[in-house]
Each structure stands twice: as structure tokens, then as C-alpha cells.
Symmetry: C2
Subunit: 288 residues, 2 copies
């Protein structure tokens, strides 16, 4: 158990270890309603989100700055979830707290005809973060082993091939200095039903609703199985998965925020040294 050093942190246990998918992980055993490792409720969570945002912001700036000289580190946050689980809220409230200049966000929709003509990783590779950046994938290459499996868009042999290709791809990114933070936001079926009902009740939320969401919902058990398989096949490689209970939105946000912070803390980016003679430049400036 790793103690948090940050003053004021509400974490009793580091979610990086607590929420990590290890051997013998069973998705069906995760309580989507829980808030493991965090002291306190919603109010403490909101306070934590605010405090840790400053820390995240400062580390992000260092990461960005370090890349201007020679550091190659970057972070990639991969967000997967069933509909309504709160990916958008993570992007808005966690990612949105850092300088937009240091963030590259890519939302992967159903592949276009052009994208389908290439290997599934083709469009993914184009969105990999440059050094110094925090890349965020709202959905990702995992759709190609999730919806593709559930809806039979690829056969079993192809799904198997993709697991292998994903492991190689992620190893390649990690070798290049990219810390990958893989997150599944986990909600319960009842919670999804309540959230979809809310979207139908509120005219200002209708635009977020799509009748197809209910079709997908009917494949709930198949999706849970597909996720379980993803965890078994792709958590042991270069980048482990984290399953974040997400019925409580505030908890999911502070948890993902802490996972990101931990990735940056591991990188420990430093302000880069000047690659010019400071005194000489001061003299030049003074002469202007």
C-alpha cells in the first residue's frame, strides 16, 4: 500500500494499485457503486478534484516543457465504457483542468469507409501523443475487440489477432516513453437505465440520446463478457487496465485524476536547462 504524499489528498489507498486489473480479476465482482480507497463522500471528492487539479496542471506543464529540450515522455489516457458511464465528464472535469495546449483529445467514432480499408490500428497510430503531450482517447482500439466481437464485425480468429496486435502496439508506445493509463469506467445496468431515462426526460439532454443506445444496452451481458476477455488478454502487457467504479461520478473523476497524476509523478518531468547562455541573452536583451 503506497501512501500519498500530497497534502490534503483524500486517498487512503492509491487507486493505481487498488483498481488495477490483476490475475483472477472478475468484472462481475466489481461493485460499480463503491468508492474504494477514498476517504469521504461527494463533498470531499469535489474538494479533492479541485486541489489535485493544480498539481496535475503543474506536472503537465513540466511534461510539456521537458519535451522542448530532449525528453520524449508522454501520457496516453485510454477511456472505455458502456454508454452514459461518464467519459465525457472525465474529459471535461479532469482533462479540462489542464492547459489545452498540452492535451490532444481524439474521440473515435464508428470507423469511416476509409478507416475500414486499413488495419484497425491505422487511425489509432495517427492520434498517438507527441512527446510532452497528454493524449486522451475517448474510445479507442479496444472498440475493435469489443463492439467488433459483440456485433460479430470480426470473426474469432481476427479478434485473437487483434489482441496480439494491441499488445505489440502498446509495448512499442511504452518503449518510446509513453505511459499508457487504461481505464474502464464501470457502471451498473440499473445506473445506465436511470441515466438514459434522464436524457429522455430533459429536452436539453435529448441531443445526447440515440435510439441505438437502447439496442446496445440489450447486449449488456455480451459486452461484459467482451470486457472480461479484454482484461484477461491485454492487462498483463506493457500497460495494465484499471476498472473504475463509476456509478458515483465524483468518485470516477477523482480516481482517474489520481491515475493520471501518478503517471506524471512516475515520469517526474523536470524544467529543462537553458540551451543558451543566460547571461549573454540578458545582455542582448538589455541592449534592445
Amino acid at each position: 500500500m503506497k501512501k500519498q504524499k500530497d497534502s490534503g489528498s483524500g486517498w487512503a489507498t492509491d487507486p493505481s494499485t487498488l483498481l488495477r486489473v490483476g490475475d483472477d480479476f472478475v468484472l462481475a465482482d466489481v461493485d460499480a457503486n463503491a468508492s474504494p480507497g477514498f476517504n469521504g463522500g461527494k463533498a470531499s471528492g469535489k474538494a479533492e478534484l479541485k486541489t489535485a487539479a493544480d498539481e496535475l496542471s503543474e506536472k503537465q506543464e513540466r511534461l510539456f516543457a521537458a519535451s522542448k529540450v530532449d525528453a520524449t515522455d508522454a501520457v496516453l489516457l485510454v477511456l472505455q465504457a458502456m454508454d452514459t458511464a461518464g467519459k465525457g465528464g472525465i474529459v471535461r472535469h479532469v482533462v479540462g483542468s489542464v492547459d489545452p495546449q498540452g492535451v490532444g483529445l481524439t474521440a473515435f467514432k464508428a470507423p469511416t469507409k476509409a478507416e475500414l480499408a486499413h488495419d484497425f490500428l491505422w487511425r489509432i497510430r495517427k492520434a498517438v501523443p507527441d512527446p510532452g503531450m497528454i493524449g486522451v482517447f475517448d474510445r479507442s482500439h479496444y472498440e475493435d475487440v469489443l463492439i467488433a466481437r459483440v456485433r460479430g464485425l470480426a470473426d474469432d480468429t481476427e479478434i485473437e489477432r487483434r489482441y496480439g496486435a494491441i499488445l505489440e502496439f502498446e509495448q512499442e508506445l511504452v518503449d518510446r516513453g509513453i505511459r499508457i493509463v487504461k481505464v474502464m469506467l464501470h457502471i451498473s445496468g440499473d445506473e445506465q437505465k436511470a441515466r438514459l431515462a434522464k436524457r429522455l426526460d430533459r429536452p436539453d439532454k435529448h441531443w445526447k440520446f440515440n435510439p441505438g443506445d437502447i439496442d446496445e444496452r440489450q447486449h449488456w451481458p455480451a459486452y461484459q463478457e467482451a470486457y472480461q476477455s479484454v482484461f484477461e488478454r491485454t492487462s498483463g502487457g506493457a500497460a495494465p487496465w484499471h476498472v473504475v467504479p463509476a456509478n458515483k461520478k465524483w468518485y470516477a473523476r477523482v480516481a482517474v485524476q489520481r491515475l493520471l497524476l501518478n503517471a506524471l509523478t512516475e515520469i517526474d518531468p523536470q524544467w529543462p536547462p537553458a540551451d543558451f547562455d543566460v547571461e549573454e541573452q540578458k545582455a542582448r536583451l538589455a541592449a534592445t
Copy 2:
């Protein structure tokens, strides 16, 4: 003089009219130190930035939502300035207050070899915001008539051609429903000197300094002339320029925030109506 309707706004006069470049505009007459139209100082400015951020955020979400049905409106914020004038601060503190999912930020650096092989608008066109988005250009096609003119990268005939091409290009965007907000952040030469000196004094700011900044600084009068020419040639078209006094960072931020808000208020985006039968979907959901 247009009165602001927003409760708590510190604006006595709308900066959209006050800072707009009209006929007979003379850049050299603008006081970079001033805070025209705003009641109060730094503390009021910071409070305004926070209050208006919520308004900006709500309108941005409506803009985004409306595009999911059939609206084609978008906003494009063009930021130009001398080094250290605070473009980064605008992106971080103004643009950074809205949902990253609704923002497309492009920083235009010195053109690459591939970009130079095309017309100057080629790389710009690729970054034009999609419907529903707020696009932000950190530097823009105006570099091609600013640094290109000052450094003699293009001859007078080509610069003339570019003014015309820019006017046509911007008209085309406006016709497609894109509101263009063109902003020059205006600092004084002394203020730039002080800001560069600060970057040299602080090791955590060294990465932001480039000896080339001092070379550019030595072309200050030529840049001011090039900007004056840009205003004369490209403010009368589809999208006027705004020159924002920027020696006071807090002022520049609330002013640009208000210009963005005004663009969104003009669009007046509405939550789109459902393109499905709400009751039918409620029944389907209840049955799951």
C-alpha cells in the same frame, strides 16, 4: 453603445464595438496599458473571468449540441500577437474554461517543407473548425503577411495577392456559418522587454525563451507597420479585427472572453429538438 445584459458583468461598454478596428484606426495610438470599457481593476477582472466562464461554457455546449442535428454554426478565434503578449494565457484561461470536446486548437509554427510546397492557406484550411466547434488559431494565416513581409519571405506582389486570398477565404468561412473573431493582443515594447527579462530570470521559464525572440524584437517597428497594413487591408471584410490592449493580462483575458461570448450570443444556439419519438423511446427503455 450596447449594454451588457449579463448580471454581474464588469463591462460598461461592449468591447466588440470598443476594440473593433474601424476606418482610420492607428495602431500606434492604442494604449497597451489601458483597460477600456471595463469597470474596476485586476480583482474585478478575475471575478468577471470566473463568472463569465460559466456562461461561455453553457453557450459552447449549446453550439455543440445544435450541430448534432442540423446547425452549421461554428466559431473561429484567431490570435495574433508579438512574442510574450499572452496568447498562451488566453488559451489556458479563456479557452481552457470550456469543454475540451468542443474546442479545436491549432498552433501554427514556422511552416514545414511540405507546407511550403503548397499555397499558404493549405495548412490553414485543414484546421478550420467543424460545425459546433470553437476553433482557435494560435498564430494563423496572418503570419504569411506579417513575418513574411518583415523578413522578406515573400515579395510585395505576393503579399498583395495574399491579402486578397485571405479576404476571399474568410468570406467563404463566414458564408458557411463560421463566426470569425480576429484578435491582436497588443503589448508595448517595454512590456515585452520586461516579460522576456522575467523568462531569463526564472529557470522554470527558460524553456519558453528562445534567442530568436530578441532578433524578432529588433524588428519591432517593422512588425507594427505590418500589423497596421493588415488591419487596413483585412478588417473591412467579412471579419473585423479587434486590437486588445494586453499589458494587463487580466484585461486581455476578460476582453477576449467577452468577444467570444458575443459571437456565441449572436449565433444564439438552441438545444436541438429530438429526432426520435421521445415517448416511444421511453417505452423501449422501460422494457429493458
